[in-house]
């Protein structure tokens, strides 16, 4: 199993959710987060005084997927969330040791 963490632009969330649904992803956790990468924040100007904001708003997706589905999930997110502009985000893939469904006690792929 793989654990996929993707940080994307907030306005891309609906599109990504739909695309992942269509390839069979059953669930995900979404959080509103702030951060920066190469984009290094943005500048706000009040009456001519510049303030640079170091952190930009992003959306973080957390998805657990079977080993078979994981590459497809990564590819789908990459393609759907891309605007080809700086600040599109990143996708991280981790090995997932176990998963348990709380209601039934199922473990492994069947719990996803």
């Amino acid at each position: 199993m793989k654990f996929i963490i993707a940080v994307i632009k907030p306005f891309k969330l609906d599109e990504v959710r739909e695309a992942l649904g269509s390839i069979g992803v059953a669930g995900m956790t979404v959080s509103e987060v702030k951060g920066f990468g190469r984009q290094k924040g943005q500048t706000e100007i009040y009456r001519g005084a510049e303030y640079s904001t170091n952190m930009l708003p992003k959306v973080k997706l957390e998805i657990a997927a079977s080993d078979d589905l994981a590459p497809q999930v990564v590819e789908t997110i990459q393609q759907t969330a891309s605007t080809e502009a700086i600040g599109d985000g990143k996708i991280f893939v981790l090995d997932l040791a176990s998963a348990t469904r709380i209601r039934t006690g199922e473990t492994g792929d069947t719990a996803l």
Binding site: Y46, R47, G48, A49, Y51
Partner: protein, 438 residues
């Protein structure tokens, strides 16, 4: 108010000087009774000006500060306005509009001695209004001017210092200048200076005082290195709207009657402001930024300030030009001049009220001329402009010296500035023991 020097004709000073003494002499001769229509408009105008202070200015200034100083800013504005009201009825009205006096100050009618429900104050024609109404109308001007000064000193001045400064500043700066501009026999009044609703008395005076106060008080900790963005432009926008609405009382009320000139002041207060709001946003765009909400609000205030002395003294297109010019100049004052000179005028009281007031006062001399659509007067455009310049320079010097005295006196009595710890934690908790937001 002074545009009427040109309209007075044979009526004589006694009829249009807004001074109770003249009003009473007239009253003895003809026993005039206040016209209820004019009285009603003046009572409405007075309350509109009150709305400019609370909640207008309180929200406008409060939104521009950091959230930890929101209540402190609003409380300072409310409290100094209340203080000004009490000082006004005690001796302020006497010092500005008393029956005896010279070109700089007047006296008499302290504690409103002799004023009754039947007393009247002159307007600019042979009409009169109730003296209590006139006293209230002028009282709101004293209150808002004192509150305006605080825009440069917020986020670091002690509340006690504000109160001490308020009493001294009103006494030695505001009342004399109000007398000079608006009272018969006052220095600027006799010179023929045009100041319809207080360009010199309110805006140049408050702006220059704000600059001097900010320089003596010193910069906020961390300025200009740390970011100090406005905490709520939403509230600033609400405050801006209330100020604009209230300003009709300020400007159209300054005619003291509900007549055609009040109508001119009204339309000018619409269009000069509209032009100024768009001009500020346009110049932001031309300077490579985005047209901003704060730019919109700032432009509105700059336009309102500039049209204040001009309201009944220029034509509609003169007002549009004046609003737009003042807005552009104020933009450069706050975005270029302030950082270059390094003073911490926290909310740009000098950059917008001081600079905008000067553009308005001097510009009134130019756009008053009939060739530019103004009502025109006896003086040539050049002579009128020189008179305006004279009044402006005198106001600047008077306000600067008087404010320095008032601020140093406040420093002696209260220490003037909050401790570093209070400044860091915010004046809401440090000075008032409350938080604006939980």
């Amino acid at each position: 108010m002074l545009r009427t020097l040109t309209r007075a004709g044979a009526a004589g000073l006694a009829f249009f000087a807004p001074v109770a003494a003249f009003a009473q002499e007239a009253a003895e001769a003809a026993a005039p009774v206040a016209n209820p229509g004019n009285n009603a408009w003046m009572m409405t105008s007075t309350i509109l000006v009150l709305m400019m202070i609370l909640p207008g200015l309180a929200l406008f200034y409060g939104g521009l500060t950091r959230s930890k100083n929101m209540l402190s800013t609003m409380t300072q504005i409310g409290a100094i306005a209340c203080l000004a009201m009490l000082v006004w009825v005690t001796y302020g009205y006497g010092l500005a509009f008393g029956p005896e006096g010279n070109q700089f100050i007047s006296w008499g009618k302290f504690f409103l001695a002799g004023v009754t429900s039947d007393s009247t104050a002159a307007t600019f024609s042979d009409e009169v209004i109730s003296e209590y109404v006139f006293i209230c109308f002028q009282m709101t001007f004293a209150a808002i001017t004192a509150a305006l000064v605080l825009g440069s000193t917020v986020e670091r001045i002690k509340f006690s210092a504000v109160m001490v400064f308020g009493v001294i500043w009103l006494t030695i700066v505001y009342f004399p200048i109000a007398h000079m501009v608006w009272a018969g026999g006052g220095r600027f009044f006799e010179m023929g200076a045009l100041d319809f609703a207080g360009g010199t008395v309110v805006h140049i005076n408050a702006g220059v005082s704000a600059l001097v106060a900010a320089m003596i008080l010193g910069k906020r900790k961390g300025y200009p290195v740390e970011p100090m963005p406005p905490h709520s432009l939403t509230l600033t926008m609400v405050g801006t709207g209330l100020l604009w609405v209230g300003w009709f009382g300020f400007n159209a009320g300054s005619e003291l009657e509900a007549d055609g000139t009040a109508g001119l002041a009204m339309i000018n207060t619409f269009v000069a402001t509209a032009a100024a709001a768009l001009a500020w946003m346009a110049v932001e765009k031309l300077m490579g930024h985005k047209a901003s909400a704060l730019g919109f609000c700032s432009g509105i205030i700059a336009g309102l300030v500039a049209v204040t002395p001009a309201a009944g003294n220029v034509g509609v297109f003169g007002a549009i030009a004046l609003g737009a010019i003042a807005s552009v100049v104020c933009f450069f004052a706050v975005s270029k001049l302030k950082p270059k000179l390094g003073y911490d005028d926290a909310l740009d009281a000098f950059g917008i009220h001081g600079i905008g007031g000067m553009i308005g006062a001097i510009g009134t001399g130019i756009f008053h001329d009939a060739s530019l659509g103004g009502p025109g007067g006896d003086l040539s455009m050049l002579d009128q402009t020189l008179v305006q310049l004279n009044a402006t320079v005198t106001t600047v010097v008077w306000a600067a010296v008087g404010t320095a005295i008032a601020i140093y006196a406040a420093k002696l009595l209260t220490g003037l500035r909050v401790s570093e710890e209070v400044e860091f934690n915010g004046l809401d908790i440090g000075e008032h023991g409350e938080r604006a937001y939980n």
